[in-house]
Symmetry: D2
């Protein structure tokens, strides 16, 4: 009745999920943790009464663990754990990106298809955000007619020196790569990445910041996306869908406003765990419900693959002077998805 969850990777996102599973999710308990940093494992095991596993593989293999969450860094480490879980037939939630290459994603899709059962959910939490859900419902119900354009921004306060030019796409824009085609219910036709000559002084030599991305869907909806990861203002996520009869826009939630010193002001969240707290909660709750029902329906490894193929096209455009690059998905979508 209560699902025993094991979490591999206890960094920024991993520790956020640890707390979530241990204190906010119905029908689940934090049963085990694993991290290369032993002190992190000890800290969270003690705090929430979970068992420490020597390695991610040990945790996955344990009969005491019903389902696994993979939240390791760097992201290329995801692949081995996800594949192992598939191999032994255990449900696995994997933070985005699923892996860092389309080939890696394809390997996971193939393994899952071979097993004949959906076992993987990818951490595209925005699909569980109330704002995106309201927009999707409006689009699906044709409330404002056909969508024509999307304007989006993905802005972060700041990043450190380990974050380089490629990560603006693979780490950051990947969220929009997933959520925008899900919103529209159709595939992308092509994309571009443009590096404006003028950059912020807050960036470093290995990071071109900001970057401008466009995506065009099969039906011809045009999307522009600003990726700006040193904005100094907050975690500022915007998405406006211009339709034939109206424009629906995502709004960052706030609970109070303040008038002081000639200004009326509302708060901008400072990071993704704050902005998308509800989305993360809903995401993991639905995953747990799905595992208990033996039928997971959230973002699949196929979605992880689609996002990565999109990112690859955007990276190719960036490296070729912002030329328009076709986004070509693998030949046919397996019936599993």
């Amino acid at each position: 009745m209560t699902l025993n969850i094991g979490i591999i990777g206890l960094g920024f996102m991993g520790s956020d999920h640890v707390k979530r599973v241990a204190t906010k999710i119905n029908g689940a308990r934090l049963a085990g943790v694993a991290d290369l940093k032993q002190d992190l494992a000890e800290k969270y095991a003690k705090e929430y009464g979970a068992k420490i596993y020597k390695s991610g593989i040990d945790l996955i293999d344990s009969p005491d663990i019903d389902a696994v969450m993979v939240v390791t860094r760097p992201h290329e480490t995801h692949e081995q754990f996800v594949l192992h879980a598939i191999e032994i037939g255990k449900y696995v939630f994997c933070e985005k990106p699923l892996t860092l290459t389309a080939a890696g994603c394809k390997k996971i899709v193939d393994a899952e298809v071979k097993g004949g059962k959906r076992l993987v959910q990818v951490g595209f939490m925005r699909r569980f955000d109330p704002g995106y859900i309201e927009i999707k419902k409006a689009i699906d119900d044709h409330v404002y007619g056909e969508p024509l354009l999307i304007h989006a921004t993905h802005r972060n306060c700041s990043v450190d020196e380990t974050y380089d030019t490629s990560m603006s796409i693979i780490e950051t824009a990947i969220h929009e790569a997933d959520v925008l085609h899900w919103l529209l219910g159709e595939d992308y036709e092509s994309g571009t990445t443009f590096l404006p000559k003028k950059q912020t002084k807050y960036t470093h030599s290995k990071l071109h910041d900001p970057q401008i991305i466009t995506l065009d869907t099969k039906s011809g909806v045009h999307i522009d996306l600003e990726v700006f990861v040193n904005d100094q203002i907050g975690y500022d996520i915007n998405c406006s869908v211009v339709c034939e009869n109206g424009i629906i826009s995502l709004r960052s939630p706030f609970n109070s406003s303040v008038k002081k010193g000639l200004y009326d002001q509302t708060y901008i969240p400072k990071d993704c765990t704050e902005r998308f707290a509800t989305a993360y909660d809903n995401e993991i709750q639905e995953w747990v419900n799905g595992v208990e029902a033996d039928k997971v329906t959230g973002p699949s490894s196929w979605d992880g693959l689609v996002a990565m193929v999109t990112c690859d096209a955007l990276a190719k455009s960036r490296d070729n002077d912002a030329e328009r690059v076709a986004i070509v998905l693998p030949d046919k979508k397996p019936s599993l998805y």
Copy 2:
């Protein structure tokens, strides 16, 4: 490890809590239900795999039930169940108002004090709302200096014919009676209720709507509160605290905005379960955590009594031409609270 919750009363709020306990609360499960309407009991028992109890008393007495939620209507039925739970030493959450008279509240406080242990939590969910919590933190931290005034509105879409003039205070304004003195961290000195001559055409002969309430605290903070329960616009809860250096205001959450037909618009929630969904979730999660830790810290039966004494003064003012009525709490607050 998992708390077995039993819920008595499966109406509008009861069914909302049933769903909450069964699907959203960590460390809890819906174990039992009871309602005079057998079909409701059967419906929810079946939907969530809970046991049906013939009566509220049976449910409370059951060894399979670790803790009880009392959500019965009419509200005067709360008292017997809460007293019975206290008697047998079981934790009990009771929706507001605790009972309908100060005497009834006092009986519960006395029973609890006699037992020597806090067992009761009252459903003043606003104390768990992120907006009120932000405001309270700003006040407690003196971010904007001393609070001087509060302007509040409590507006509902509409009410039916069973809702009469007295309920504007005892059913509706009671929320502000509780949350505003909690925000300010001090007791009320006096209150008034004024019935404006002009009423909405949407009211009926037994309901004076709207009503205007004022409260003044011991330190002299002045509060005005509009209670308007047929506003036709939504469940519109506002609270602005005017401080020496700034004004902090509660804002209803929204997740998207729409531009259409010459208007830019955001949504107003339609009822309390929508507006305060997060507050209710947090309230019950903290109650469950408290029960598991054998130490409940949410709104107490003393708070229930304070709110009812306040309501009584406001009712007296209403019946005496809006004269200022002193709000006098029982002689000394028991050390239990």
Copy 3:
């Protein structure tokens, strides 16, 4: 074709009107100025090519001056100039308050009635503000049904030591005393002024700040008004009219918004000349148009009297422990108005 305007009083508001007449009003020119402070008179005369008059009376009497604006301080000096203009049959615009006593206003009304022609316009500029005009139109057109309640605030950044307790009514609340009954199209029945025990630390010994005023109209619309003149946040004027089917609220205009440092913010005007710049322009333009057409239609000396009678009632309430005081207008409204 071009109206020659003379302005008496060149302080804060006077100099604002000087600039307005000289540079923004169609069909008018600044022809003359007068002020007890000779240097002010010289400054503005030089800046805008106007003639200096030794006294206000000289200015009024001059054949070179077609119409007069009285903007003198202290306000009790208004009366003599307005009466003199009436006497010689010259149009006169007088800043609010018309005078400081109801008796003084009555004397002006009587003089004007005796002359048989409307010559006076009082500076209740809010009637010319686009926001108030939108609200009045919605009320007059019954767009949201009958008005039931009004919540208003009149907040200033700060005042100096010359501003005392009485001025919160006679200098500040007088704006609402005029504009709110104009909005509603009906007279007041009664009013109260309450002095909350808690005051801001930014006030001084002769000023009780903030103050809470209520007004009830003949039909029973209930109004509450916060007067807070040391708010430290800006010139923050609010007015929400709660109707049967909707709530319409005044909004301070702003032209841009800024996101910075975790906040999304908009500007609050710092004083009345900024907040009501458009209203002042419209007011004077309509007055000039009226003078040219020999038919002035803006706020009359009767409106000035009504506002002062209202202020007197509010002052009496303040001095009598916030008791409800009837607002009784002179027996019959002269047909001139």
Copy 4:
């Protein structure tokens, strides 16, 4: 002292300017009008007491007219009137676009340079809008560091069948072509125009709607602009300047907000004369002031030429599959500008 203004062209914008000059501008009067449609000329001449001229040339030549406004349609008719005014040395205000070709603009610039005196002001009214002025001041004062990106939208309710694909640039985007480089204080390097495959059903066969434009400045600021002229929602002009330390955004003014039927809403202007009423007033007032001072400083014919060169590049890009097209200004800017 009072400037006698003659207006040629009395259509949508012309009649708006007629009313403005006649009733809102200080130091000016409407002295003459001319229009091919005799009934329009008669209507406005009668309404405002102006003289009718048989032709625009007659009006320009008249000694009773001190300065001329050219507001004729179609826009190619501007050129002859502006050239004639230059020829006889009379100040002339010309609505945008100055003419419909860069060659035509160049001819005007050359004529003006030859005459040795600035006589022309072009109707780029946005430079006089309080919102754009606030943004420009923030940029010029480096309040938020260096500007990096601009996101803009230019949306109209709807257009009729005479408005074709080319006009999205030459009639509509020309406003941003002018105002954005003025905001930034630098020239454009290149531009693109992209026609998204998906169009609104509200367009017609000769109009591709919406269109997406980009502009990059010499320093590398990247701009994207949505032009959507059948948006069905209102005249919705947006401009966000993303800087290193903050984002400043234009906001459409509104004076009141309304809560009704589960929505809190504010008004969107329905057309340019409503949205930019203040900008138009300021524009014409400053022009009149400039003419009186014999020194006009508003947007010049050079600015008109720059805008048209920009539009030509955007049109070329549109016709060449959205290729990036360099924006090359004439060799050297005359010292006159």
